[in-house]
């Protein structure tokens, strides 16, 4: 069991013939991910790592029954790529690129909700179900199959958390990169609830950061969850009004301070952690 993807997922790559697309397709395949093909308009008929390339997602789905897509394209093309995948019937889409315009993501979200599809990202390292599927750009070394789910707005934080969980023997069920952009395809609460419904996941580490409202929106779900939630928030010492790398990581006015986010989550029953080393200690205390 896992959430979002496993060894049976039939994964396609949009932008498979590009530099990053090619490189990470190779890596994902090497991990054992069931990559079935990809798209690159005007390059249908080619192959990448032995997998067929199509001009459109519709054609790829028809030929390969792909049910998951990972997007490796310049940010300005993500809107159309994601909508193309959704309309072709793909139900899970990972949008890797960063700097996707906000208004574009509003369109994507609207299509996704209508089609009951899940979009992750943009600006995500992807989704990893250790030992089964690696969708995106996450480094294998950090991960091992296990019982803790993670969901984070940051790739690097995902790695450090997984690294910590792996080193301390908990391992991970699935690790979800929510993405660093200001408007995201999915929200913390949606992913948390998937973990709640996953038998294999005994606890979830949720890592937020300054900016936006997605952490705040998760409180109701955390209250309802039986699975314990550990929470880290980056940016306690961040200066206001300055974008910290991630387009979404910016304190605007009174919105999105780390302190407030952490307080709200703790009030909802999440277990706050300051550093990665707090995580295994908290898990031990919770008897996970």
């Amino acid at each position: 069991m896992a959430i979002l993807c496993d060894k049976n997922s039939k994964v396609m790559v949009q932008g498979i013939t590009g530099g990053a697309g090619k490189f990470h397709t190779e890596r994902m395949l090497a991990y054992g991910t069931n990559i079935v093909g990809g798209t690159s308009p005007g390059k249908g008929g080619q192959t990448v790592s032995g997998k067929p390339v199509f001009d459109t997602v519709v054609e790829c789905v028809e030929a390969t029954q792909a049910d998951v897509s990972v997007i490796f394209l310049p940010a300005r093309f993500v809107k159309e790529a994601a909508i193309e995948a959704i309309r072709a019937g793909i139900k899970f889409i990972v949008a890797i690129p960063e700097h996707i315009p906000i208004h574009d993501m509003l369109y994507v979200r609207e299509e996704a909700v209508k089609a009951k599809a899940t979009v992750i990202g943009g600006n995500t390292a992807g989704v990893m179900t250790p030992g089964e599927a690696n969708l995106g750009i996450m480094p294998d070394i950090a991960f091992a199959p296990g019982r803790v789910g993670t969901v984070s707005r940051s790739g690097s934080i995902t790695y450090y958390v997984a690294d910590t969980l792996t080193r301390t023997g908990f391992g991970e069920s699935t690790c979800v990169g929510l993405g660093g952009d200001p408007v995201l395809g999915s929200t913390f609460d949606e992913i948390l609830w998937k973990f709640e419904e996953d038998e294999k996941t005994k606890a979830v580490v949720m890592c937020g950061e300054i900016g936006g409202v997605y952490e705040e929106c998760a409180t109701e779900t955390i209250r309802k969850m039986k699975t314990p939630v550990l929470a880290m928030i980056g940016g306690i010492y961040a200066p206001p009004g300055k974008r910290m790398g991630h387009a979404g990581a910016i304190v605007e006015g009174k919105m999105g301070t780390a302190k407030e986010k952490l307080d709200i989550l703790a009030a909802a029953g999440a277990h706050p952690c300051r550093t990665f080393l707090d995580i295994p200690e908290t898990l031990k205390k919770l008897g996970v």
């Binding site: 700097h99 906000i102 950090a142 450090y160 950061e209 910290m244 605007e252």
Partner: protein
């Protein structure tokens, strides 16, 4: 990124939102020159990319050119929230009968665009929302929807716009919405929308924040002289340099040079340093999949920053590969040289290759590495952060 008032008023004018005639001046003499030809009292408004300008004394009134020059001189010497005032906007003083608030912003939680209006203008709308939620009226729209005039008119009516001005105010709201949509905005505000004593509606103050990631679509902004910048404050020279090199970078007020991989750990690492008693000199992110050249430039920024006493390096290779990272560090060491102590940890994609490269380079030129303490996945990152704090302390001679 936020626009200056004078920039956003230009956009307002382009979208037929009523604004006063105005001048922008960089010196008090220029102010004198403009005001000399204006009949009536004027308002001088410091142009800064930060809030709370009014409370900080950044807005002054003047009668006549002489008083305007004196007051402008004061404004141009001010700092507001730490930001220098480099220019002053001059407008005729309005006679205010009533002030309204109209704004368009993102409701990220619900993935909507929301039009907000209130009969309480000229004050902090977030405060009104908390203290008097009943005084705030909203209309939410999906990104695919248009704002229709009847909905705008209902909002105008709810906030108490006088009936003869209802239609006009509805078009102001619609035009503000169009501006928001057209320029990929995050926030556009008229605060206050002033009803003057002679029953005219005028956007007295304006705020426009755009989505940095969509600015590429709006080439006309560059033609208007509107360059990428922070949401608050202008870039420092070092930030501008980093921006030109494609490196997300912020100057902070501590002494530990931050050289992390990934924005997320860039933010979190900043907290860690604080937790362990240190203070970072900067925020930095390598951006996705940096080439060795960019890695080298990141180190240049730190090594040449006189505030930096020690460097905290962390690399967890994801889309960024450890071999490229190592190549970049070695490039920097050979071409520039490291003058400050650095502790670093490297793991992730291609880490073996990265380690091998470091070892070879070190064998060749051991002297280049004398300031570097190197760790791999076996050391928790917290230990690295602690060590960086120690190194900085040592360097400061404490």
């Amino acid at each position: 990124m936020r626009l200056y008032e004078f920039e956003s008023k230009q956009l307002f004018e382009n979208f037929k939102i009523p604004v006063s005639k105005r001048f922008i001046a960089k010196t008090s003499d220029e102010v004198y020159g403009f005001v000399e030809n204006m009949a009536g009292s004027v308002v001088l408004k410091s142009q800064v990319l930060t809030g709370g300008r009014g409370k900080a004394g950044g807005i002054k009134f003047a009668d006549g050119a002489n008083e305007a020059r004196t007051k402008a001189r004061e404004l141009l010497q001010m700092k507001i929230n730490g930001y220098a005032v480099n220019s002053v906007l001059i407008e005729l003083k309005l006679t205010v009968k009533k002030e309204y608030y109209v704004g368009v912003t993102l409701d990220r939680a619900n993935y909507k665009i929301v039009i907000i209006a209130s009969g309480e203008g000229g004050v902090d709308i977030e405060k009104t929302a908390v203290d008097h939620p009943e005084k705030i009226f909203k209309k939410s729209l999906s990104i695919k929807e248009n704002l229709y005039s009847f909905d705008a008119l209902l909002l105008a009516k709810k906030i108490g716009i006088p009936q003869p001005l209802l239609k006009e105010s509805a078009y102001i709201i619609i035009n503000l919405f169009e501006l928001f949509k057209n320029y990929d905005a995050k926030l556009v505000e008229i605060n206050p929308l002033v009803l003057t004593n002679d029953d005219k509606l005028i956007a007295a103050d304006s705020r426009v924040s755009l989505d940095d990631d969509a600015v590429f679509r709006h080439v006309d902004l560059k033609e208007m002289g509107i360059e990428t910048r922070h949401e608050e404050g202008e870039m420092t020279p070092r930030e501008r340099q980093a921006y030109e090199w494609g490196i997300p970078y912020l100057d902070l007020d501590g002494d530990i040079g931050m050289f992390p991989g990934g924005a997320g750990f860039g933010i979190m690492g900043n907290d860690f340093i604080h937790y362990f008693g240190g203070k970072p000199a900067n925020f930095m992110d390598s951006g996705g999949g940096p080439a060795p050249e960019r890695i080298a430039k990141m180190l240049v920024l730190l090594d040449e920053n006189p505030n930096v006493k020690a460097i905290f390096g962390a690399r967890f290779g994801g889309i960024s590969r450890c071999d490229d990272f190592a190549k970049g560090v070695i490039m920097f060491l050979k071409e520039h040289g490291l003058s400050k102590p650095m502790v670093m940890r490297m793991t992730g994609n291609m880490w073996q290759e990265g380690v091998r490269m470091f070892e070879e380079a070190k064998k060749e030129n051991p002297e280049l590495f004398e300031h570097i303490e190197f760790h791999g996945i076996e050391t928790p990152i917290e230990e690295i952060a602690k060590r960086a704090v120690e190194l900085a302390k040592e360097e400061r001679g404490q």
